[in-house]
């Protein structure tokens, strides 16, 4: 009942919108500060680490509120990281750089999630 209330839907949308606005701008700022493929790479790795932490925290201790996850995970972090720019930059790069880009983003992104999970379980043990 409370989940389907129009005000609830509006609240969810507003939280995601705010996160998306900030996430996209942070990614853009990072790509302005760095050269070449580094901006997207750094955003993806950092974002994966933080999302790993937030979502594993939800599976474990679950101290953070649902609203926090909406604004930070669904809104900010998912907008901060990007697959489309990663794919386009891979296509536009030379073959060696393209292979490095895919391997780097994948390897460090997955490691980031795992490390985020480790950090979350450390906090749970506290």
């Amino acid at each position: 009942m409370a989940e389907t209330h129009p005000l609830r839907t509006f609240e969810t949308a507003a939280l995601i919108a705010v996160g998306g606005f900030l996430g996209a701008n942070s990614r853009h700022a990072l790509s302005q500060l760095t050269a070449g493929l580094w901006g997207t790479f750094l955003a993806n790795v950092l974002g994966s680490f933080l999302l790993g932490f937030v979502l594993y925290e939800a599976l474990g201790t679950d101290l953070l509120a649902e609203e926090t996850r909406l604004v930070f995970a669904t809104g900010f972090l998912s907008s901060f990281t990007t697959y489309s720019t990663f794919a386009l930059e891979t296509v536009q790069a030379g073959s060696l750089l393209a292979a490095l880009n895919v391997t780097g983003n994948y390897a460090f992104g997955f490691t980031g999630v795992v490390l985020g999970g480790v950090l979350a379980s450390r906090l749970e043990a506290e």
């Binding site: 998306g20 853009h28 493929l37 998912s78 489309s84 794919a87 386009l88 296509v91 983003n105």
Partner: protein
């Protein structure tokens, strides 16, 4: 009539806002029980649109709003890596590998499709030249800037898309000028 410039942060931010909301909506509509179909869908659709607007050679403002903002936020790498790791952990190893490789292959296929489509609808003189470096460089046109010169002299700007090629033999000059002017207006509108 000078239109005041919209700050980059608003273009990127508003695009990002729309992208995040659309992603949330897409992932609630397309939801997989055991396989993260929602994330795969947004990544493929977003890659297609980003490729399309990039290959069309739209102006800087349009690229910031649609490309960096909308498509950048609509697609997500963090949820993608989380789902991959999660599938691997829960002993869905095959699904995890299929998901990781599938996202890449499907996104690349979407970009290829976007490229073909952009070639079909944009005449050669209006296409951005292939970029030597990565992102951030303004697209350059073979005719030099906005190719006003290509409109009165259609022979300097032969249309080459496959949709166009068959029409060309029928209408030749007249349609070329019309089409060229139309595309010029699109470029003018989308350029700051």
């Amino acid at each position: 009539m000078a239109v005041p410039a919209v700050p980059d942060a608003w273009l990127v931010g508003l695009g990002g806002m729309a992208g995040a909301l659309l992603r949330h909506w897409t992932t609630t509509v397309v939801e997989g029980e055991r396989f993260p179909v929602g994330t795969l869908t947004v990544n493929v659709l977003g890659s297609f649109l980003l490729g399309f607007v990039t290959f069309l050679g739209l102006g800087n403002d349009a690229l910031l709003f649609v490309g960096t903002g909308l498509c950048g936020s609509y697609t997500t790498f963090s949820s993608f890596s989380f789902h991959t790791v999660r599938l691997w952990e829960t002993d869905e190893r095959t699904a995890s590998l299929v998901f990781a490789v599938g996202n890449l292959l499907a996104a690349l296929a979407a970009l290829a499709l976007a490229w073909l489509l952009s070639r079909a609808i944009v005449p050669r003189c209006l296409r951005p030249a292939p970029r030597p470096a990565l992102v951030g460089l303004p697209p350059s046109y073979p005719c030099g800037g906005i190719p006003t010169a290509c409109c009165p002299v259609p022979c300097e700007c032969p249309p080459s898309g496959f949709v166009w090629r068959s029409l060309f033999h029928m209408y030749k000059r007249k349609l070329t000028i019309f089409y060229c002017e139309l595309m010029l207006n699109v470029v003018r509108i989308t350029k700051r």
